[in-house]
């Protein structure tokens, strides 16, 4: 007996993960031991180091195709591309978290989360410039979970990653300094429903394990070739899909999205909307094409239906929203549908242009939506953000720059040419049509037009309406938010006008191993 053989572990291939988890661990220590005065800059630095380091690591790893950690992790093009994307979005989100110029109390996060909202103590603290910094290690953990999610080659790792990314997000949702009731409500809703969804995922895992005897994706694929139609297996697949679709806010598992997006601190919402979506779709791609790629006929109609449902629900329900964040939440639901269109466009063997298209779309959408939420933090009324649409009337006259950038992001979300949104949409629709799913593409196009209405409505309000007499003020952002908005706006334009190199990158990275 040799005892337990040490699993092969390629530390190099895990470098991105090690960076963020390292940053998270260090962050926890800093939280515990560093004096309050220096905590904020140090935490920001650590979190940024982790995210940027991870991003650099993914760049250096480009071209790696290996399965490591005893087969539990697949470090391939898709994983690295999405990890890089998540790292970038994470770094930008951390910058948004660290903004101190906008809120009069110098931070968008609550000083002491445990103090009951509305209590005397809470009122005292709401103007206190004390900053709670636990959000940074939490973000790092979530970031690590997301990156792990995209590389998980094993259902168990996938589940653990799911929890690692979710648990911090539940907490972060509840950390808003203003409108704490809403924030706490968002947290509790997100938590309960998230846990509920995890249970489904887990039950699916168990059924698949029972059907195939393994939770390794490659093993499942091998088993699925033999018994693709096994009821236990497809039932398991269905429950796994439910768990993942919840994270990706695909209708009908989207119900938490508007509430949580609206209630959570805007910077956290930005992080969730951008990075979680990428991670969730990373896992979806891996699950469907690595584990069930050979049983593709079982889930294709399902994903087809989910895509249509999500697009229609997102577009139609978005029409009558009156809150910017909520509207962007429904936009997120519709975009999940568009992304599923790309997933459909992957072709039976996972080849096809759909993979690269979906990856590009995730990058483009993530950056745009991050930028849009970033701008939402700037429009303020009283002490908090002004998110009601009526407050945005005539914004172009108060701040032409903010209005113009918001206009750009909205046009990108609507998919107008010369923005990244169009390139992404073109890529996924092309993939869908190329694999014969043109009816889906047509539905997608029609819902795009419907969805365009609510983006346009915001532009109409900003540009063509007269500002309300006591409308909101537009805060002067500090450096971090400025960087975020500038980077995302530039990316939105560049990916629309000259997307060639990034498309190339996505193309060359469009390889799944495992």
């Amino acid at each position: 007996m040799d005892g337990v053989a040490a699993p092969d572990l390629s530390f190099a291939a895990l470098a991105p993960l090690l960076f963020v988890f390292g940053a998270a661990a260090v962050g926890v220590l800093v939280e515990a031991f560093a004096p309050r005065a220096v905590r904020h800059p140090v935490q920001v630095a650590i979190a940024l180091t982790g995210a940027v380091g991870a991003f650099v690591a993914t760049l250096l790893l480009a071209g790696t195709r290996e399965v490591t950690a005893g087969g539990a992790l697949a470090v391939d093009g898709v994983a690295l591309f999405l990890q890089g994307t998540i790292a970038v979005l994470g770094a930008l989100s951390v910058l948004l978290f660290s903004e101190r110029a906008l809120d009069p109390a110098r931070s968008a996060f609550v000083a002491v989360a445990s103090v009951p909202a509305g209590s005397v103590r809470d009122r005292e603290l709401s103007t206190d410039e004390r900053v709670q910094t636990e959000v940074y290690p939490l973000a790092s953990f979530a970031l690590g979970g997301m990156m792990l999610f995209t590389a998980a080659n094993d259902l168990l790792v996938m589940f653990v990653a799911l929890e690692v990314l979710s648990l911090p997000l539940y907490l972060m949702s509840g950390l808003a300094r203003r409108r704490r009731l809403l924030s706490q409500e968002a947290a509790v809703k997100y938590f309960l429903l998230g846990a509920f969804a995890s249970a489904f995922f887990l039950y699916g895992l168990a059924l698949v394990y029972g059907a195939t005897g393994s939770v390794r994706l490659s093993a499942i694929r091998d088993a699925a070739v033999v018994e693709g139609g096994d009821t236990l297996l497809v039932l398991g697949l269905g429950l796994l899909v439910v768990g993942l679709m919840f994270k990706a806010s695909v209708a009908p598992f989207h119900t938490w999205t508007p509430d949580v997006y609206q209630g959570a601190p805007t910077a956290v919402t930005a992080f969730m909307a951008a990075a979680t979506k990428v991670a969730a779709f990373g896992a979806v791609l891996r699950l469907l094409y690595v584990a069930f790629g050979t049983a593709e006929w079982t889930w294709r109609p399902l994903v087809y239906a989910l895509a249509i449902t999500s697009m229609v629900v997102g577009a139609v329900l978005g029409l009558t929203q009156t809150d910017v964040k909520r509207m962007l939440a429904y936009s997120s639901i519709a975009h999940a549908g568009f992304l599923l269109t790309g997933v459909i466009g992957l072709g039976a063997d996972g080849s096809g242009p759909g993979l690269a298209a979906t990856m590009f779309y995730l990058l483009a959408y993530g950056l745009t939506t991050l930028g849009a939420f970033g701008l939402v933090t700037l429009v303020r009324s009283g002490e908090g953000e002004a998110t009601h649409l009526s407050q945005w009337a005539g914004l172009a006259q108060r701040s032409p720059v903010v209005a113009a950038l918001m206009g750009l992001f909205l046009l990108a979300l609507a998919g107008i040419p010369l923005t990244s949104g169009f390139t992404g949409k073109f890529a996924v629709f092309r993939a869908a049509i190329e694999t014969g799913a043109w009816p889906l593409a047509v539905v997608a196009l029609v819902t795009s037009a419907i969805a365009a209405f609510f983006y346009l409505r915001v532009i109409v309000l900003m540009y063509f309406s007269e500002p309300a007499p006591e409308g909101p003020t537009v805060g002067v952002p500090g450096l971090p938010t400025t960087i975020v908005v500038a980077v995302t706006a530039a990316a939105t334009l560049v990916l629309g006008v000259l997307p060639g190199s990034v498309l190339d990158l996505a193309d060359s990275a469009a390889v799944l191993v495992g």
Binding site: P417, L418, E434, V446, A449, L456, I459, Y463, F464
Partner: protein
């Protein structure tokens, strides 16, 4: 001459101009207007030079430029023009300076209790629009065309939404969504085309010349054709896809209305000719009967609806819809004569209806109302204005001697041998055209002074003033206002000012010149038209009567 990238320059110059205008500091804002004029005149010069460099007997596409743009999608930034596209570029070149002149005193909609808003944005959007319009006609890559096609919506959206009439938000959104919906349906076809090219040529491409060679299955052709067709039918617009135009045309500021109806909508008919026919010849032939029904219904229906309008801009918008019916008839009759007529119609309609919109704008600037019923007897006060109004109207009803006659005549005479029934019905439209034009003219210009003119006036004959000044109410926001409250002082109605004369003169001259001697323009477009007609599988040689050979069908 041919080495100069004329088309690229024509896109770049106004785009740069737009950026410069938008970037002007507030203190130098007064420069925006002359700058816009200078840029638009420069584009006109470029268009003329490009025409000189163009060889009518040469290749189908000339003045080509091509740079790889998005290699992953097989997209090139490929520009080139045939005679049809070139004639549209000339039209743009002519109309934009006119629009700049006509919008010289344009003012943004009033803001209660605040100072006037900056007009910089107006001029910047206008120039950007010009750049994109050039691009949409000059693109020879379908993807690039699509990009311009959609991007063009944005400046027009802002022109209508920011500077339009009282109902501008509704009109702007309606315009945008309608066009976007059409565009997205077309996108499906564009991608479909790419997919077909990918399977047939081994690599996907959007190059027009390559796509033209494809052998597409008829069923697929029909679907792809419909995708393009819906987009273009909304743009053109054909009944029943037209209801956005009366709103947009009415609410837009006059300058934008001119470009909207004069140029933007031509993208639709241009698209029929450039894309629907050559790329999907079988589908075009199969579906032509249906399209022709839409065309003829449009001619009669829109004309009748126009007769019932009381809003001048709305009326002119409906007349345009009727005219687009004629153009569609000419295109889908598949004869060289008719298609040549359709292309000429596109140019001539831009000039004639452009002038009509400009003049209507001048009337509105004087009276402050778009309602016909608020006017009457204007001819006595402003005879020159009345004369130009009448000329524009006559051009609109295609009176011989005006440019529109040539095109309408060609469309009808060319369609008749192929489609006698449709043509006969469409010909009835010329009576209706006379009715809507003359009704409007009579109510506005003839009869005793009425409406705002009937208000007390210090000088009974304002036209007698030696050099009338610019109309006191500016252009503008006012041109889009339905009924402005009457000012306290009495109303003078000056005749055309020097600026206004300068604005209308080029169009008046073109209307007459192209009415009497259209052959150079015909020579310019005929080769491209013939190529298109042979693409669709018809004989480009034109009508070849077979007298005495076969029994001749009776007239129906």
């Amino acid at each position: 001459m041919t080495d100069v990238p004329w088309l690229l320059l024509m896109i770049a110059v106004p785009a740069v101009g737009a950026a410069v205008v938008a970037g002007l500091p507030a203190a130098r804002e007064a420069l925006a207007r002359p700058l816009a004029l200078a840029v638009s005149l420069l584009v006109l010069l470029l268009a003329v030079l490009a025409t000189v460099a163009f060889d009518t007997g040469g290749d189908r596409f000339q003045l080509t430029t091509a740079v790889a743009w998005i290699p992953d999608f097989g997209v090139d930034f490929a520009l080139g023009v045939d005679g049809i596209a070139l004639s549209m570029l000339l039209l743009i070149g002519v109309l934009v300076p006119v629009v700049v002149g006509a919008s010289w005193h344009e003012t943004p909609p009033p803001r209660p209790g605040r100072g006037p808003r900056s007009m910089r944005a107006f001029w910047a959007w206008l120039l950007l629009l010009e750049s994109l319009m050039v691009g949409v006609f000059a693109a020879t890559d379908v993807f690039l065309f699509y990009v311009f096609f959609e991007a063009m919506l944005v400046p027009m959206y802002f022109l209508i939404g920011s500077f339009g009439g009282e109902n501008r938000q509704y009109a702007a959104v309606k315009f945008f969504l309608y066009s976007l919906l059409g565009g997205l349906v077309m996108l499906a076809s564009v991608i479909g085309l790419y997919v077909v090219s990918n399977s047939q040529l081994g690599e996907g491409t959007f190059a027009f010349d390559a796509l033209r060679q494809l052998e597409i299955d008829p069923g697929v052709q029909k679907l792809l054709f419909l995708g393009f067709f819906v987009a273009f039918a909304i743009k053109a617009p054909l009944v029943p896809f037209h209801t956005w135009l009366p709103d947009a045309g009415t609410q837009a500021p006059i300058g934008a209305s001119v470009l909207l109806v004069g140029v933007l909508d031509k993208v639709g008919t241009f698209g029929f000719l450039r894309y629907c026919l050559p790329l999907f010849p079988d589908a075009a032939r199969d579906l032509a009967p249906w399209v022709l029904v839409l065309a003829v219904v449009g001619v009669l229906y829109a004309a009748l609806v126009a007769i019932g309008q009381d809003d001048m801009k709305r009326l002119v918008s409906y007349t345009s819809i009727a005219h687009f019916g004629f153009i569609a008839l000419g295109i889908f009759a598949f004869t060289t004569e008719a298609a040549t007529g359709a292309v000429l119609y596109m140019v001539n309609h831009g000039i004639a209806t452009g002038l009509l919109f400009v003049v209507v704008g001048m009337v509105i600037a004087r009276s402050g109302s778009r309602r016909i019923s608020d006017h009457g007897g204007l001819a006595a006060r402003a005879p020159l204005l009345a004369g130009v109004f009448l000329l524009a109207g006559l051009a609109s009803l295609a009176l011989p001697g005006t440019n529109s006659f040539v095109s309408e005549f060609l469309v009808l005479i060319g369609s008749f041998p192929e489609r006698p029934v449709h043509t006969v019905l469409a010909t009835l439209g010329i009576v209706l055209a006379a009715l809507y034009v003359l009704l409007m003219y009579q109510r506005v210009m003839h009869g005793p002074a009425r409406g705002v003119l009937a208000e007390p006036d210090a000088e009974p004959d304002a036209g007698a003033a030696p050099e009338p000044a610019d109309p006191p109410h500016g252009g503008g926001g006012a041109t889009a206002v339905l009924a402005a409250p009457a000012p306290a002082r009495t109303r003078r109605v000056p005749d055309l000012s020097r600026r206004e004369v300068a604005v209308v003169s080029p169009l008046v001259a073109l209307i007459l010149l192209l009415g009497v001697y259209p052959q150079p323009l015909i020579d310019l477009v005929t080769p491209a038209v013939e190529a298109t007609i042979s693409d669709v599988g018809a004989d480009p040689g034109g009508n070849t009567p077979q007298v005495g050979v076969t029994p001749i069908e009776e007239d129906d």
